[in-house]
Symmetry: none
Subunit: 249 residues, 2 copies
């Protein structure tokens, strides 16, 4: 059998089944695994397949990319993301909400980090999936079209079963008097459950949202352990919060 012929066969199999194993191909076409590996490597260099340990994957399959769209005040959010990442260590279980700040964090996670991320936000999950070393746990239930996250009693029940080390909340509004507030009933239920379950709750919020509030109450400030903004920790705007016992970063 000719080399090109064999490669065409392999390519065909990959496109057909989305995945092939070097071992099974080698018995299929009766050549050594080395040869298969070399073929896969060539095909991968030509961009026809994606080579992975033990075989190859179809290219079309793993291309579920989300438009890395323009985010409002991205530079601030990036700063926040960096601070948030510094709290995560290897082996941690991290529960996150959705929101652009969280997404920014998800994209900036260092590649060596090994941790487990849990979320009901589709967008966040997509970002976590691209990461080579983190395990991703998706919270299921009905999907809210407006917020692109799973909401409902099932999701809340699932969250209550967990005891994650950290919970990152993309915060919509935070205020000394009203605490954390939001504007979507279903999201609020979910965030409440997240806060209850977690050992530490971290609020990510751009300074703009500090001292603002929204119609629905999520929780008191006292439930929050850490507050992250793009400002330095000793910014006067944040002073009341650290006075209230929140660790401000």
């Amino acid at each position: 059998m000719l080399k090109k012929e064999r490669q065409a066969y392999i390519l065909h199999q990959v496109n057909l089944h989305n995945k092939v194993l070097s071992s099974s191909l080698s018995v299929d076409i009766n050549v050594s695994e080395d040869t298969i590996r070399r073929d896969l490597q060539e095909l991968a260099e030509e961009g026809k397949v994606i080579k992975v340990h033990g075989g190859a994957l179809s290219h079309s399959f793993s291309q579920v990319h989300f438009p890395p769209n323009e985010v409002y005040s991205q530079s601030q959010k990036r700063k926040i993301a960096q601070k948030a990442i510094s709290l995560i260590s290897n082996g941690m279980f991290v529960l996150t909400s959705g929101g652009t700040t969280i997404l920014e964090m998800a994209r900036s996670l260092p590649p060596q980090l090994k941790a487990t991320f849990i979320s009901g936000s589709i967008a966040a999950i997509l970002e976590y999936m691209h990461h080579p070393n983190i395990d991703v746990i998706l919270i299921g239930d009905k999907i809210s079209k407006s917020s692109k996250i799973t909401v409902g009693s099932e999701a809340i029940a699932k969250i209550k079963q967990m005891k994650p080390d950290l919970c990152f909340l993309g915060t919509n509004a935070i205020d000394l008097k009203h605490g954390i507030t939001d504007n979507d009933w279903e999201v609020v239920q979910l965030k409440r459950a997240m806060i209850e379950s977690s050992q530490k709750t971290v609020c990510l919020s751009i300074a703009e949202k500090i001292n603002t509030f929204q119609p629905i109450h999520i929780c008191e400030l006292s439930k929050i352990d850490i507050l992250i903004t793009e400002l330095p920790f000793d910014d006067p705007l944040l002073r009341p919060y650290s006075d209230a016992g929140i660790k401000v970063i």
Copy 2:
């Protein structure tokens, strides 16, 4: 034998078998391999064949260089998607697996359709979310990075709680003797649960996958209610399946 005559013969052989070996041609026509090689080279320069190490391939063979942005065998999948959609009516609960065929169906769902779609496939969910009128239920659990779907006991337990009207399975391999088979253990577990829960199971499969099999068994043919391919329902290839009691569309 004249040179032209010989080249005509070679060309004929290439078009007939899609490939020729210099070695076998040389004994066929009783000339040295050098001569064959020179002939092939000339034919290649004229664009009549594609020369490779050891012989030559027909042009149609290498035309499997499918256009880059197009999904593999998309037109077939579109045809399948259309047939699948005809089975869905308003108000139905539909459980689907992942796979490119399912994605094609998800994209083609008519905008007026009001139904509930349930899936653990991230890519499928993304498509369903774009639809204006369908409710989306996401099955949660750990995400398998290779297949981009949620897998695990939680996901399976959740599926077992449901009684969807229809279950669409993107099929990797179907065979009279082996039934439905696949190549990913976790995916197999999930698909089994899906079949068990559903009132009707529909297999979507391009004709190429008919009468092929993969290492892991999912279920017997008898569990399948409907089989959809891009072929007409009375195609001889499908005859054994309708004889086996499966409704073929």
